[in-house]
Symmetry: D2
Subunit: 277 residues, 4 copies
């Protein structure tokens, strides 16, 4: 007995749930959990089905393609641990939270390696016996730097790349290599304060709530499909530094939660949005 | 084209989703939204299916009973406005919120009547042209008082009875007459502070968060299946009166939200718990 | 024995608390509650002191001016009910919440009148016996329309003007007439979605949290000093209409809370920010 | 120039703020932040004053005692890092969060040592170079076990003892040794679910919100003065194990926040309550 997740993303039509669950039933798979969503504006159907049983993947997918509309996307994936590479700069809080949660089992993930454009976080990686690759960006073009990082990353064949406060902008080439597979934490409640120094912007604007946003990175201007957001209340007595300090707690918690959702196959991207089941 | 909700509550078995949605498909009903839950501890299956189409109710239910396990509970209900009677004592905030939301369309409900054991809230009922029945509890036994209230309530044939800060304890006889059809707001975060004066208890205990709980009333000791809870942060500077004043906002918002969930057929009761889809 | 609030806003200096509370002590005023804040970036000191006793206002202010730096702002105000005029268009939820809370004592305010550019909400005003002035904006220039509204508003001498979903942009002339005395509710978590149709923008962006912002109106581009903000979680299943419907609850609750803070003299404006004690 | 915090806890009287800040002014100390609270029910005054300057502690305290009522408690403490000992059993999440935050500067603390009644968490302590003392409770009386732990703890002279999921009940003797200096995390929203297995209790009751409570340990029956509480929403789909897993995030975040408040001298205990400035 194994556990897998079936993700269906197709044009909406009558009878889809019956047909899909019918195939599962035929293959004697037990439905542990099922979630659907129809985007009526776009006539699009999304379903996530958590299944238990003995899987003949190719036969199941064949049967599904028989009953589904043309150009449907179907994927049947195991819920076993996924491999990630984490990219960092100097700040430890997001990396630290992922390392610690992976350590005690709060996050189902295999951290294959950490890539940093500074050496600052190497000692933290060492504590947890994770390979740390220091790839300095100085005296290099952006493309040269990314080429070096890509070489390292590719060696690990990660399913996702996690930007845990990696503070450099990635080129469209880098991003295109990992479509909907790069997860970033933005230290503001997007789309507020999109540019640099969001905490300073928030302080200058005198907001009463600050937040953080975890999102996939794509080449859209406004920073990709949002996975998870959270906020905390603040007040006039917070300096820009206080906002940043308190914001760190939200950043790390939002990134870890988004990562868990992605790892657990609960997120489907479509256009610049996500369905989070 | 009409819209209805199908609620299924039965023993868990393989293929239930396929079978139920298959019946919907056969009757050419479009599934707008579907939610399922399996309580593995009890082997019980729950499903809420929002449907659009032309309904032959008895035929649909016949077909469903053919495919479902024995002693399943199935109900097919319209999403049209439901009729309620509200019971009150002296406090206006919960009643006021329901009246105002019903007035501007924030709550899909027909308020048939208000029953009060004090006259205090009659002027508020009059503003909104709702019949107000003052049934004083003085010089009567509890059963006599309830008998009078039941006579009035029965005349309106309400689907639900809402206790909007009705401050008297109801007898098991009264409660048994409306099984899972009486909704109450308790001014604490249950199961904390179950007894009298929860805000004073909260103040004495020095809690940093207070809350409110909307629940169905049954004859269990600990006050019935919970529908909705919410909380607000408080601190040392709140007196017991401040807690009560601030708590009122949570009470009214939790009661209105719970009521909306129930009216929209999103709540299934089982045992002393609820499934809220 | 009366209760008043002393608000001090001046250049920062050593000994200010001692000097100000010393004057209170000299006048035998009891300090019920005291809050201070120093904005170090601007070297500015703010203090709110809630006092109880017998007040000789001019003598107290004279003594304070003796000990405070030049060009300090000091105000000594009663905590009695303040008079407001509410401006509305067609939506009832914010107006309804203020009316209901004022009715049952959840908001310490005297609603002098309601001004609407549509007749829609007149029946609601009538229920609560508040004068409603329908001042249609059609066939008029913006200045002519505002002139008519100002005539009506001025007759009531309100301390604050509350825009409870008043959907027209006010001219700088109108705004300048009520400096830091116009309170608006913006149906987004500012500074996100500043322009029109924020809920549609939020839906298109796929955010996971929506919010509302109550702020003073001034002639700054980004909509004035923020008083209060709050948010609710949303997900992919919310249509733009669902966002708007759910957002209404946050809008009304944020506006009422901001209004209560202002009425209770807990808000000091400086620059484009507020100190909220 | 140094920074210290002055905590005053005394009988309420007129002029206290003037007198206390007057002493600060006389000693040319700059007030960075000042917070007061009067508990009117008990006629008690509390003040926390953050000061900057050159401190002659004994002279300042002498001057304060001159102006304060008899039997006042005054303490003048540095904001430098405080030393703690952490007690654990098997669960890593709370310990891990404190270690990680201390590592990257999110918590101003010196972790002198960790004491565990199991060896489970020794490797985690080793990663961060903190001495770990395994003191097995088997084959010992409770008093013998505590005696051994006390010997170890005393050697480090900690200012606070933090119970980071230490799952044994402490004797009144142990508790009495560290009055208001032992901080515990209770995995429920106190006073709900006081006894064993709170997550299972919560699941059986069908609550819609779960929480955690950080508190000082004393010998009161209901578990001591509350420092901090927080909650998360849950629903019917959470098993008791899911509640526990999700609850861990709240537990660790509440404990870390409570600890930071205590370390930063923002908490005053009185009776079974706290003032948290």
């Amino acid at each position: 007995m194994e556990r897998k997740v079936l993700i269906t993303d197709c044009a909406d039509a009558q009878g889809l749930i019956t047909k899909i669950t019918g195939v599962c039933f035929k293959h004697q798979l037990n439905i542990i959990k099922n979630s659907e969503f129809v985007d009526n504006a776009q006539g699009r159907f999304f379903m996530r089905t958590e299944l238990e049983g003995v899987f003949d993947d190719s036969l199941i997918l064949f049967d599904l393609n028989e009953v589904l509309p043309d150009s449907s996307h179907v994927k049947l994936v195991s819920l076993s641990k996924k491999r990630i590479v984490i990219m960092v700069t100097k700040e430890a809080h997001c990396l630290g939270d992922i390392l610690m949660k992976a350590y005690y089992g709060g996050l189902d993930v295999e951290i294959a390696a950490i890539v940093g454009n500074y050496e600052t976080l190497e000692p933290l990686a060492v504590k947890f016996d994770i390979p740390f690759h220091f790839i300095c960006h100085q005296d290099m073009t952006r493309l040269e730097h990314e080429k070096k990082m890509i070489e390292v990353i590719e060696a690990y064949q990660p399913e996702y790349v996690v930007l845990a406060k990696f503070m450099r902008i990635l080129t469209p080439e880098f991003v295109a290599r990992y479509p909907n597979r790069i997860i970033n934490i933005h230290h503001s409640f997007l789309p507020a304060f999109i540019g640099a120094s969001p905490y300073r912007q928030a302080w200058e604007r005198g907001v009463k709530i600050i937040g953080a946003t975890a999102h996939f990175v794509n080449n859209c201007l406004d920073e990709g499909p949002i996975i998870k957001q959270d906020v905390i209340p603040v007040d006039h007595s917070f300096s820009a530094e206080d906002l940043a300090k308190n914001g760190r707690d939200v950043e790390k918690s939002v990134l870890s939660k988004a990562l868990q959702l992605v790892l657990h196959e609960e997120v489907i991207v479509y256009g610049n949005k996500t369905v989070v089941f």
